[in-house]
């Protein structure tokens, strides 16, 4: 048996700042550190924005003037914790359906050594698989990322 926890990504870092500041930079200051190369827009990314409330959008603004949604705030407990839906399809486009999105939880706690411990968990990759109950190609062209996601789907289903 493989549980969901086995395929989640967990990261912890210590930031030399208060909990409030660490939370503020992560969220309000999201654009100041988000890797510029990481977006799903069709043109260069300009700004990365998290709307700081439950239901808030996570999106980028693009050089061509469009906005590009990629997530949504599911839980919001400043300055300690928040959860966002990572709304990416199996073809790396926007996924409007939350039930098919992976999610990321970030927690901020005071570290005994001073500073703030930031714990991140990215989980439920198995939700990203395409629809359908057969392990067939069928989606996307040759070499499409869909085939990779079929692999993951197969693995997730075998693990049940």
């Amino acid at each position: 048996m493989t549980s969901v926890a086995d395929t989640s990504v967990k990261k912890s870092i210590i930031v030399n700042a208060t909990v409030e500041h660490a939370f503020d930079v992560f969220t309000a200051g999201f654009d100041s550190w988000w890797p510029r190369s990481h977006h799903i827009g069709k043109s260069p990314m300009e700004k990365a924005i998290i709307e700081m409330r439950v239901g808030g959008r996570c999106y980028t603004t693009q050089a061509d003037g469009t906005d590009c949604d990629w997530g949504q705030i599911l839980e919001w407990d400043p300055p300690h914790r928040f959860v966002l839906a990572w709304q990416i399809t199996h073809e790396w486009g926007y996924q409007p359906d939350l039930s098919k999105s992976s999610e990321v939880e970030i927690r901020f706690t005071a570290d005994p050594g001073g500073g703030t411990r930031v714990d991140l968990e990215h989980r439920h990759f198995e939700r990203m698989g395409p629809e359908g109950d057969t392990m067939r190609v069928g989606v996307g062209g040759p070499g499409g990322w869909s085939s990779l996601m079929e692999l993951f789907k197969a693995r997730a289903e075998q693990a049940k």
């Binding site: 208060t18 550190w33 988000w34 190369s37 070499g143 990779l148 692999l151 993951f152």
Partner: protein
């Protein structure tokens, strides 16, 4: 966020021939000769790609008679996890720098 441009970060999957091989194997295990028949590359080239896919743990092989059968590694979900594992290392390092730079500019303690 993942972009098409970051395909190369999953190195083994950054090559169209290797993705085509994986796609072929979705239908079931195949020997190298049959894989090569469906692809516009030589059999030695397919063998080389299979070595890379094996090394990346996306493909497994087993002997059957006097040939080897290649199949998808059911543990291949590890590749997706590994991608995000690396991605978050990179992103959180950038975040830590930003938080500590701004912390020194506007002290909170």
């Amino acid at each position: 966020m993942v972009t098409y441009q970051h395909a190369q970060q999953l190195d083994a999957l950054g090559d169209p021939t290797r993705r085509a091989i994986l796609e072929s194997l979705l239908k079931g295990p195949l020997p190298v000769g049959e894989l090569a028949r469906g692809l516009p590359v030589s059999r030695p080239a397919v063998s080389q790609h299979l070595r890379i896919l094996k090394h990346a743990r996306l493909v497994v092989d087993r002997p059957e008679g006097n040939r080897r059968l290649y199949a998808l590694n059911p543990a291949g979900v590890e590749a997706l996890r590994a991608y995000f594992d690396r991605f978050w290392d990179q992103a959180l390092a950038a975040y830590k720098r930003a938080a500590e730079t701004r912390a020194s500019e506007t002290p909170h303690e």
